[in-house]
């Protein structure tokens, strides 16, 4: 039973982690909590649905195509809604983010309709039973691909020039341009990557829980945001750890307690962690200059 729940937690955690990565990367670079991120994840799911159902693409084609398409969406949103507000008070950007999220939800509702849609089974599931626990090839695939992506992102940020630029920008916004960093381009890349990762999460959610609707991004978005904060917002490792931790807490609390207590536990835990580690696990301590 324990292994069963552990596997379930890993699957859910991977999804939260992928979305949390987007939050954390954007926050690192812009100090903006992109509240529209959860809805970008939802759009990613629908985009994949469209590719699968209308264009009959196989999964291997859908994954990169959706990543690119939604990545572009992220770049466009940044360009239109956030860039003009880069020097405005932070709260304006936050309100804009909320408005963008609402807009995305409405567009999907109005064009596709409120009925939940079936996400096609692009992977024929085979059940593997090992004594006390069962898993499916789908579950294993989700966990493994997610981990590979997370490692890829970490390597990208640590080793490539663009990655270094992203880190430089997250440490000091004012001086980075002086070092020849094209702030606009780096921000666009960050948004693109974050959105792309969220869309992959959207595909995985579509495969694992094949009924999708336009509202599914809201709660998932907030929970992934919580994961990013628990891990330390701005830290890639943190987002990953936070995602898995949250997945585990959710699954385990549903396993042992009535499900109505779940949110209370998850958020109570969050507060508890923040009490002792106000910057999250891997966050950088915030220094205030007087």
């Amino acid at each position: 039973m324990v292994i069963q729940q552990a596997l379930n937690s890993l699957q859910l955690g991977s999804i939260y982690a992928l979305i949390a990565l987007g939050y954390t990367m954007v926050y690192g670079v812009l100090r903006l909590i992109n509240f529209a991120h959860g809805d970008v994840f939802m759009v990613g799911s629908y985009a994949a649905l469209f590719l699968a159902v209308s264009l009959h693409c196989p999964l291997l084609v859908i994954l990169p195509l959706t990543f690119i398409a939604i990545g572009l969406l992220g770049v466009v949103i940044e360009r239109l809604a956030y860039r003009p507000l880069r020097n405005a008070p932070r709260v304006s950007a936050v309100i804009t983010a909320l408005a963008v999220g609402l807009f995305l939800e409405t567009i999907m509702l109005a064009t596709i309709g409120p009925e939940p849609k079936k996400f096609p089974a692009l992977v024929t599931t085979t059940l593997y039973t090992f004594g006390s626990f069962t898993t499916t090839n789908l579950q294993i695939m989700i966990i493994m691909v997610s981990i590979i992506l997370m490692i890829a992102v970490d390597l990208f940020v640590a080793k490539t020039r663009t990655g270094m630029a992203m880190r430089a920008l997250s440490w000091d916004k004012t001086y980075a341009p002086l070092l020849g960093i094209n702030v606009d381009r780096i921000v666009s890349v960050t948004f693109g990557m974050g959105a792309g990762l969220a869309s992959i999460a959207g595909i995985f959610v579509g495969l694992a829980y094949p009924v999708i609707d336009p509202y599914m991004g809201i709660m998932v978005g907030w929970k992934a945001f919580v994961s990013a904060v628990i891990g330390g917002i701005g830290s890639i490792k943190g987002a990953v750890i936070g995602g898995f931790l949250l997945g585990a807490v959710e699954i385990l609390s549903a396993a042992f307690l009535p499900s109505t207590y779940r949110d209370m536990i998850v958020f109570g835990l969050l507060l508890f962690i923040l009490l002792f580690k106000p910057q999250g696990f891997f966050g950088l301590p915030v220094q205030k200059k007087v």
Partner: protein
Amino acid sequence: MVKNFLSAVSLLGTVAGIIVFFSCDKSDSIKIGLNAELTGSVPVVGKSCVNAAAMAVAEVNARGGIALADKTVPIKLLVEDNEDKAESAAAVAQKFVSGGVLAMIGPNASRNAVPSAVVAESNRLLMISPWATNPKLTMDKKYIFRACFTDDFQGNVVAAFIYKKLGLRRAAVLFDVTSEYNKGIATVFKESFVKTGGTVAAFESYSTGDKDFTAQLSKITAAGADVLFLPNYYNEVPLQIQQARQTGFTGSIVGSDSWGSEEILKLGKDMLNGLYFTTHYSADMATDKARKFIADYQARYGSRPDDVAALTYDSFGLLFESIQKAQSRDPEKVRAQLSSLSKFLGVTGAMEFRSGSGSPVKSAVVIQIKNNAFTYFDSINPL
């Protein structure tokens, strides 16, 4: 500061005035309000409801309206979306109270209907819910009615069906504890099944909006149940069945009338093959009246009517007949007629209201899903 305040107030005042102007209605028709789940998690329910309502009203208006004493009065249908949110449903009920409707049809989901009924009852608004089966809806109320059976009846039907017809003894339930309907019928089923002699090996719950049930389903599989009862809505059941199979559950799965929308076939496809559920009517055992209704609906909307549509059509039928019998637009008189209506033959079968209860006495059907279609299996009549 005062100047700004004044300009703000006058701006608001002007706009309020515009709203007043546009919201006045001066015609002489009988207004009926429709409180439907057009958006939210079960929009197909709302759509069926609106379609059937529009058709029922159009049919009456084609004859000029309802014939009362000296003249024929047309019907005006006012449709509002309750967004499948309890507070919005209650707000819509309020709006209809203020709007001077003769009666309100809907909401359909018990979680929305029950709170709307509280508002309707305290404002003496006549309400008929087509599809809400939770007993609380009409309990201790004078103005609230429904066109369907209650879960007190349905829960027993499911228990008897599983025990006698399927011959299974160890049941498990997975239900939404935050939704009136699911919680109500799950509880009735549990009591009834145990009373009949069966065991309920697991009684697991989740909250509306959850998508991951693997924790609860793993427990159910581990408890060794041979049948799983899923009294949940059409958008959740396919996920639950899929995850149940993935946790290794191989037993039978049975549902209740919340499965009744054909949308469930689209979302569930093959995994629903061979499964049973209880509901209000079956298209393939139709009476003449039902057949005509199905044909008309199909011609008008291009799809087959589901149970929500049929029950909505019957709700209007009940209302129109009561108005006709009362020969009056007075809601009190109409209500009186409705509460003693006997032998009404609707699309969903015969029904009658007895001893001042707002819930009709009528039969249930069991449907089996075969080859991606609903097929009639059995009927259960009330005692």
